[in-house]
Structures are given as structure tokens and as C-alpha cells.
Amino acid sequence: MLSCTEVVAHSEALLEGEASLWKRIQIRLHLRVCEHCTRYIRQLDILLRSFRRLHRPVGDDKVEEIMTAVHRG
């Protein structure tokens, strides 16, 4: 059985779909009995998916300013 530190070490590969089948099985077995690692991976997943939404689109004023610059450029 993997230790918690080993699960943490492989958690990003798991979330990015890069973990091997065997590693995924080992992690799943660990998660069945470890609520701390289950919570860690669930919350890391939420955090990483949140990052993708941090950059908001800019408004029309900014777009217009840039388009004016590219036409002048």
C-alpha cells in the first residue's frame, strides 16, 4: 500500500491523466481507507480547476484600445 506522502507525490500526475494504470489502482486502493488523502486530492483538483478561471476576459474599452494600437502599429 502506498503511503500518504507517496499518494501526494503522484496526485498531480493522477489529476492530469498522466499516472499509469498500476499507479492509479494503487492510489485508488489507498483512497478507500484514507480520508485525508481523499480530501487532499479533491481539494487540489478544485484549486487547479479554479486557476483556469482566474483570468477574466477584458472589456470592450480595452479591446478597442488594443485594436486602435494594432491598426496604428
Binding site: S50, P57, V58, I66, M67
Partner: protein, 204 residues
């Protein structure tokens, strides 16, 4: 068309059909991300000018964009090249450092048996939408992104905020893929700890 989810070929088609409209959509969608990349390299004072120059270069070169890479990757390359040019003018260079030194993820939070001794708290957020609703936490994320070391910030910005592939990031930053993975791990660990600390204390 949503340029953030459209395939590169669809964006090429849209640009050929109506360059002004499609390019405006790219500006709206990617200006914030490009500014964040530029700020990591040339600093807050020069980043707006660097990004404007990047948009000018992108507009001039748009006919050469054939959709072989994602438009995000293409634009990121352009903004980084503009930043490199600015640094060169000032007699400096962009050298993104490979990760150095020992790093123990979550030091002090595991016992000798490798089990959590100080496990993560329950954050009470059930989705990204849920987490991003909390303005104080958002401000805190911004603040901590700013203070990450440059190499970690660039890796996290490109991978997790903009969704570039590892190979593209390695090429752009001139680092090995395994070094990029290490930088990402270090940056993510610090950001996770930050949120955990915020949940525990309510302080950034």
C-alpha cells in the same frame, strides 16, 4: 465562436473570414493572461507596453498562424519574445532558472511513517465556482501568485492558468519537461498551503 474552446483550425477559418472580429475576440480572451506573463518577466511598469507590442506583432503575423499549435501557445511565444527584446534593450536577458535545492512538499505535515500528521483542512468548497466566489480568497490567490519565484510563476501561469501543454512550456522557457514538472509541483504546493492557511486562520 468561443476562442478559448475552439480548435486552432476553426480560429484560422474565423480569422480568414473576418479578421477584425476574430482578432478582437482573441484580445478579449487572452489579454489578461498575456499581461500576467509579461508582468512576470518585465515587471508591472512595462508589462502593458510589452503586451501591446505583442498584439501589434500578432496582428501583423496573423496570416502566418496556420493552427499548428494552439493560439494560446502562439500568443504566449509572441509576448515572451517581446519581453525578451525589451530586456535585451536594457542589457538584460531572460534566464528562467531550473529548480534548485531541496524541496519538501508539506514539510512538517507528515509523520515518520509517511502518514499525514497535520492533514489538510476541509475547505468547504465543492467546486471552482464555489471557491472563486470568495473575494478575500481571490485577492489572496492573486497576492501569492505575485510572490512566487519567477520560474514557478511562469510555469504555473502557462500550465494551470492558460492551459498550455508541458512540451510547449518546456520549449518556450528552454527547460526540460521534468524541470517544468518540478516547478509546477513547488508552485502548486505553495498555493495549496496558502488556501489551507486561509481556511484555518481567515488570514492571507
Amino acid at each position: 465562436m468561443d476562442v478559448t474552446t475552439a480548435k486552432p483550425g476553426e480560429i484560422v477559418k474565423a480569422l480568414r473570414k473576418d479578421k477584425e472580429a476574430a482578432f478582437s475576440q482573441l484580445v478579449a480572451a487572452y489579454h489578461t493572461g498575456m499581461t500576467a506573463v509579461a508582468r512576470s518577466i518585465v515587471g508591472a511598469n512595462e508589462c502593458e507596453e510589452a503586451v501591446q507590442d505583442a498584439w501589434i506583432a500578432a496582428y501583423k503575423g496573423i496570416d502566418g498562424f496556420e493552427g499548428r499549435s494552439s493560439v494560446r501557445t502562439w500568443l504566449t511565444r509572441i509576448v515572451i519574445n517581446q519581453c525578451r527584446a525589451r530586456l535585451r534593450k536594457a542589457g538584460r536577458e531572460l534566464n528562467v532558472d531550473a529548480p534548485e535545492g531541496e524541496f519538501r512538499a508539506y514539510a512538517g505535515r507528515f509523520g515518520a511513517d509517511g502518514a499525514w500528521s497535520k492533514p489538510p483542512l476541509e475547505w468547504g468548497h465543492h467546486s471552482p465556482d464555489d471557491l472563486l466566489q470568495e473575494q478575500n480568497l481571490l485577492d489572496c490567490l492573486d497576492k501569492h501568485l505575485e510572490i512566487l519565484p519567477q520560474n514557478q510563476r511562469l510555469a504555473l501561469e502557462m500550465r494551470d492558468l492558460q492551459g498550455l501543454g508541458l512540451e510547449a512550456i518546456s520549449n518556450i522557457l528552454e527547460l526540460t519537461a521534468s524541470n517544468v514538472r518540478v516547478l509546477l509541483h513547488r508552485a502548486r504546493t505553495q498555493m495549496f498551503n496558502m488556501v489551507d492557511h486561509y481556511q484555518e486562520t481567515g488570514e492571507c
